[in-house]
């Protein structure tokens, strides 16, 4: 597969390390009343879609960016690649 890195252009996916669903960005609040339940959902439960999937790839053999790649799990077509940092900020993560 080829991942079109937003900073570096098209790169072979072999340069990257895969983590999983980009929902791993949405780490819950540790002080929430049901924090353990929330963390359980966050860490262990997956929607695992057959179709469009937002997922985290790390450019380990490259610039060490974490990317959010939107890829179809049926066809492997990639329709978007963004810096995970930008996605995280958009989802409201900060410090």
């Amino acid at each position: 597969m080829i991942i079109n890195h937003p900073l570096l252009g098209p790169r072979d996916s072999q340069e990257f390390v895969y983590l999983g669903d980009a929902s791993l960005i949405d780490r819950p609040d540790w002080q929430a009343e049901n924090a353990v339940d929330q963390f359980h959902e966050y860490l262990y439960q997956r929607t695992n879609p057959a179709g469009e999937h937002q997922e985290l790839w790390f450019h380990e053999q490259g610039d060490r960016s974490w990317l959010v790649v939107t890829r179809n799990t049926l066809t492997h077509e990639i329709t978007a690649v963004e810096l995970a940092r930008d996605v995280a900020r958009r989802r409201g993560r900060s410090k």
């Binding site: 997956r46 929607t47 057959a50 799990t73 066809t75």
Partner: protein, 417 residues
């Protein structure tokens, strides 16, 4: 019809006119006591044990394509019960014992061949970890032998003892491990279950569930509505897709592709199953002569049943590292199967939040060897609404409770199990 050598000879002499279909091709009934979704190894085994052990014969197996078309028909055929953890070992040993009597049980020769499974180790720490596992097996009453380098050499003198990047220091051998003719497992269970009255319904895809007041009443299928008191879902690889139809949209499972490989036919070279401990490579030789081998999953979520070159190369590199004599053997075919990769690498056989709906999945890429025990334990659960003792750890809630069964210690990252 009973199969036997005598029958084969008789038919050979009379033009093979007497053979009948191995299983019927029935129309679905309006209602069954139990429906098993998925005509793979696990689903068909479930049906057989429901009929044979639990006396449930008003049972249908619904298969969207042709039986045995999923992972039971596209794996590397290895059986073993050399697990480390208490949650797993008794289950896989139960499976091994069922394998050992499978052919007589089913009256079908699935070629269960116990030629041994040898895991190589390459460091002292790995040998200690093998000793821990081997001792765990022995405490469970399972056969295991820890071999030193010379012991390995006796079994597999062709391995690279001289120039391997990661030298072979020894190995853990399970003599009772081996291989089984994978397709025959599906067919044998199907034929046996059919003979007890189970309806095996092919080309019947489940398209929805009828659920009222939290209780499942039946399934919508491409061949119409079929009612049932209890429904078991055994569709590993497609678990997410099918369970979503029952309103269960999140599971501790990701779908990944595992590629597997077979070489052209060769005169016998490998005695049993050999696994490399410093790379991802496992291999055996089929009765037809092909080297059947595999390695790591591709590592990204997919439902595509096909993989890419990097893993193909990685697997062959592993092979060439320890078996440099296979370099000129040609790889004939690469295929891919979609795995239910669970969050701790261990399976799930459990009730769901929907009354009457049961789940069997999360087999990662170890489901084949589990087929008999999975079928038996799932049948137990479907028949009795209680988990079988050897499968009692395979619950959905183990993650919430912090009771993971993590053989490899990789944590909640499915592509590392």
């Amino acid at each position: 019809m009973r199969y036997s050598g005598f029958k084969v000879i008789k038919e050979a002499l009379t033009g093979h006119k007497g053979w009948t279909p191995a299983w019927r091709d029935p129309e679905p009934k309006k209602h069954y006591d139990i429906i098993v979704i998925g005509g793979g190894g696990h689903g068909l085994a479930t049906a057989w044990y429901l009929a044979k052990v639990f006396g449930k014969t008003n049972v249908a197996v619904l298969e969207k394509g042709w039986i045995g078309g999923g992972n039971v028909g596209r794996n590397t055929t290895i059986i073993r019960s050399n697990y480390l953890l208490d949650g797993n070992e008794p289950f896989y040993e139960f499976s091994m014992q069922l394998w050992e009597n499978l052919e007589q049980d089913l009256n079908y020769n699935a070629m269960v061949s116990q030629r041994g499974v040898l895991n190589l180790c390459h460091t002292d720490a790995q040998r200690d970890a093998f000793r821990r596992r081997g001792n765990g097996m022995r405490l469970n009453g399972v056969d295991a032998e820890l071999l030193d380098k010379e012991g390995v050499r006796k079994i597999a003198p062709f391995l690279n003892f001289d120039s391997a990047r990661f030298p072979i220091k020894g190995g853990l051998l399970q003599p009772r491990g081996g291989t089984v003719r994978h397709d025959a497992v599906a067919w044998g269970y199907a034929r046996a279950a059919d003979s007890r009255g189970v309806d095996i319904i092919q080309n019947c895809e489940v398209t929805g569930f009828k659920i009222e007041n939290g209780k499942v009443l039946g399934v919508e299928t491409t061949r119409g509505f079929i009612g049932a008191n209890r429904i078991g879902c055994a569709v590993a690889g497609s678990s997410g897709k099918v369970m979503a139809q029952a309103g269960i949209h999140r599971l501790p499972i990701e779908s990944h592709v595992l590629q597997a490989f077979v070489s052209e036919g060769l005169k016998p070279v490998l005695p049993g199953v050999i696994t490399y401990g410093a790379g991802h490579f496992y291999v055996s030789q089929s009765d037809k002569g092909g080297l059947v081998f595999g390695g790591d999953i591709d590592g990204y979520n997919t439902y595509a049943q096909r993989g890419n070159l990097p893993v193909v190369e990685d697997v062959c590199e592993g092979g060439m590292s320890i078996m440099p004599m296979i370099g000129r053997a040609r790889l004939l075919r690469i295929w891919g199967g979609v795995m239910d990769m669970s969050m701790d690498g261990s399976p799930i056989i459990d009730k769901t939040d929907v009354d009457g709906l049961y789940f069997n999945g999360g087999w990662c890429y170890g489901g084949f060897k589990a087929t008999p025990a999975s079928g038996w334990c799932f049948a137990h659960l479907l028949a009795n609404d209680q988990p079988h003792p050897v499968a009692s750890a395979y619950r959905f809630d183990r993650f919430r409770k912090g009771r993971m069964i993590d053989e490899k210690g990789m944590g909640a990252q499915p592509n590392l199990h």
